[in-house]
Amino acid sequence: MALDIKPTRSELINLKRRIKQTKNGYKLLKMKRDGLFHEFRTLLSDMIKAKRELTESYVLAKSRIDLANAIEGGLKVRSAAIANSASPEVEVERRNIMGVVVPSVSGTNLKQAFGERSIGFTGSSPYIDEAADSFGNLIERMVKAAEMEATLKRLLAEIEATKRRVNALEFKVIPELEEARVFIQLRLEEMEREETFRLKRFKNK
């Protein structure tokens, strides 16, 4: 570091104050990082489970719709799909985890019972119904997984930023300030010694 600091007492006082402040901020940021990380770890295990369930429901739904396609014919399944006009809606709200704004997703009308599907008794068959049911389940799981995924992504971004800040303070900013403080202190001591020596010379004359 280029030492372009004035070795004066007031500068030293300022520097000491700054070091104290920086260390305080560093401690706080470190706590924030640990807190975020803790939050992240607890959410992650849920997320892993949700993802696994999601894949399982997808596999099930896929096999059911394949079955429906094979037994009822693609055209019938397609016409049933077009007939169903219930549109699932999701609502995205904002939630706050340690200063990180994360979405909170809730769904309405994700799953319809047989009567609500507006397919009718004659237009449908158990296979189509089962397929529609399992896709309804899948959508429910999806909404949950989507919320968690978005939350985790935001948390990750925040953790990364905080980590960078903590490291920058620990390995760059604080050492540099300390170095400057040591420099001023040594320089002041040196100046003091010079002064006493000068006085002694003066007295001897």
């Binding site: 894949t55 169903n84 006009s85 009308n109 992504k153 990750l156």
Partner: protein, 99 residues
């Protein structure tokens, strides 16, 4: 907000059966990229469901943008679990915590 589904007609059919009406069946790489780009900027779409096979065939930069986006959240679904989130975790934290 709506749920949008992107994929082959076979993939979107099941979701249509469950009542979702915002479906995209893009063909070819160019069209797929275009659909995703427009979805990223569309308001009113909360979740985008994608066949993970389609997702993994996208150019890397677009895939990164999709995985970073929060509204809409892009969710890859397939018979194999998609690993985009796992990758993001590994990149951000430095350790693979996905166990």
């Amino acid at each position: 907000m709506e749920i949008a589904v992107v994929g082959s007609p076979e993939f979107t059919l099941g979701f249509q059966l469950a009542g979702i009406s915002t479906l995209y069946n893009p063909e070819g790489e160019e069209e797929t990229s275009k659909v995703f780009r427009s979805l990223l900027t569309t308001k009113g779409v909360g979740i985008v469901v994608v066949d993970s096979a389609v997702l993994s065939a996208l150019p890397e930069r677009l895939r990164d943008r999709l995985s970073e986006s929060v509204t809409p959240t892009v969710l890859g679904i397939g018979t194999e679990e998609d690993t985009t989130l796992r990758e993001t975790i590994r990149k951000a934290i430095g350790v693979d915590l996905w166990k």
